[in-house]
């Protein structure tokens, strides 16, 4: 039996294949894409019902409420990031492949952002209107979410890797990850509040970007190390 000759694939090609696979898999389980989004809408809509229709109060609360809801929604689907590949042995094959595991982790985090972070960014202004937010504030809210949710996906991947194969992983994951989300929450919601108070938002946005750059560099390393421990 002869072995078929195969063409070489560049690193970019491998990344693209990994990303395509993640997105195709997620789209075949539509619930996975819709659950965080519906969760976001429901949680954010519960607040006006709970605290009453006083518009000044709602507007004051809006950035914090929307950011916390987005943060919880983005965390919902994290547990599934590696779980399926772990259960069927694909993760072993990824760890043993010639492709560095860190690259595959980046592809997974990117797909998590595209499928659960980005829909939140797009849905946020609709919910913002519910709280009486206006044009400029809505723009700032979207911008902070756009800078913040990729960081949430990257930091979340560390927690997902650490809790792989652990019973009650969901709760443990939240306990591990939520404290790490605090800086993103402070600067994200802070930017919208600062803008509403007539202050500059440049500092907040720079810090959010800095958090993103830091997590792009360090989160894949930490996640890779955690995955190797989980696979032992």
């Amino acid at each position: 039996m002869s072995r078929p000759a195969l063409q070489k694939l560049s690193t970019g090609g491998v990344m693209r294949a990994a990303l395509q696979r993640e997105i195709a898999l997620a789209l075949r389980q539509k619930g996975e894409v819709l659950t965080p989004l519906v969760f976001f809408v429901v949680i954010a809509s519960l607040f006006p019902l709970g605290v009453g229709p006083e518009s000044a109060l709602l507007l004051r609360m809006a950035p914090g409420v929307l950011w916390v809801s987005a943060l919880l929604a983005a965390m919902l689907s994290l547990q599934r990031l590696f779980a399926m590949d772990y259960a069927d042995g694909s993760l072993e094959q990824m760890a043993l492949s010639a492709t560095p595991l860190g690259l595959l982790v980046v592809a997974k985090a990117l797909s998590h952002f595209l499928l659960s972070g980005l829909p939140l960014v797009l849905m946020a202004p609709v919910l913002g209107l519910q709280f009486g937010m206006e044009g400029r504030s809505l723009g700032i809210l979207m911008l902070t979410l756009l800078l913040g949710t990729p960081t949430l996906s990257l930091i979340g991947s560390i927690g997902a890797a650490l809790t792989l194969g652990v019973r009650g992983a969901g709760v443990l994951l939240s306990l591990l990850i939520l404290p790490l989300y605090i800086p993103v929450l402070i600067f994200g919601a802070g930017a919208v509040e600062a803008d509403a108070a007539g202050l500059g938002v440049g500092g907040h946005l720079s810090l959010l970007s800095a958090l993103l750059v830091l997590s792009v560099f360090f989160a894949p390393l930490a996640t890779t190390a955690a995955l190797k421990i989980s696979l032992e």
Binding site: R3, L6, Q7, E92, A98, L231
Partner: protein
């Protein structure tokens, strides 16, 4: 690429949960040879194979690939390695093609559908490329997993119970595939509870005893 690859174990030992499984294993495997790991349930066959792959840390001793410890040359070693464990590593909600194309991509290769179809036909699964893995039987899934071997350019095959869930033709097919791999200068390490002949090649026997 090294023309004559070797895999050697040097005083290899393994401990699980504080209990020593095996220790002091010395062995050397050259191009065209295969190592047949036997032992009772719980003797540490799978643990040994996972160490050989670099999935588990080495508790004692060393594993050398071409004379260099495997943990000092991870990337180069993984290019030479193809591992098939108890799990098939197939995503149920993807088609057979999608699974094979992704595995090839992990190894750094672009797989075209016609090539995949040829290999699937050889494994008794003609025209199944578009089917979802979920709709295949256990044995068929195993065959898809094994067809990865035929697509892999790796020199060292590490196979954990590859004959499980296979019918007689499947067993024959796999034995021939391993035989051809060894004839081309490959190496194989495998565990199995059924005794299977690989061509006319006598194995190096490694019996694990606690």
């Amino acid at each position: 690429m090294n023309p004559a690859p070797t895999l050697s174990f040097h005083k290899l030992g393994c401990t699980r949960g504080g209990r020593p499984l095996f220790q002091g294993i010395d062995s050397q495997l050259k191009a065209g040879q295969w190592l047949y790991v036997v032992g009772a349930n719980g003797a540490g066959k799978t643990s040994l194979l996972r160490m050989v792959c670099g999935l588990s840390p080495i508790d004692a001793g060393d594993i050398l690939w071409n004379g260099t410890p495997i943990h000092d040359q991870r990337d180069a070693y993984h290019q030479d390695l193809c591992y098939l464990g108890h799990l098939n590593a197939l995503q149920e909600s993807m088609t057979v093609h999608e699974n094979l194309i992704f595995t090839a991509a992990l190894g750094g290769h672009a797989l075209q559908k016609p090539v995949a179809n040829d290999v699937l036909a050889r494994f008794g699964l003609p025209g199944r490329g578009h089917q979802l893995v979920r709709h295949l039987s256990q044995g068929q899934k195993r065959r898809v997993a094994l067809s990865r071997l035929a697509l892999s350019p790796a020199r060292l095959w590490v196979l954990d119970e590859p004959f499980v869930a296979m019918d007689d033709t499947g067993v024959r097919l796999l034995a021939d595939l391993i035989d051809a791999h060894l004839a081309q200068g490959g190496l194989a390490v495998l565990t199995s509870h059924q005794l299977v002949d690989i061509g006319q090649r006598p194995p190096q026997l490694l019996e694990l005893r606690t």
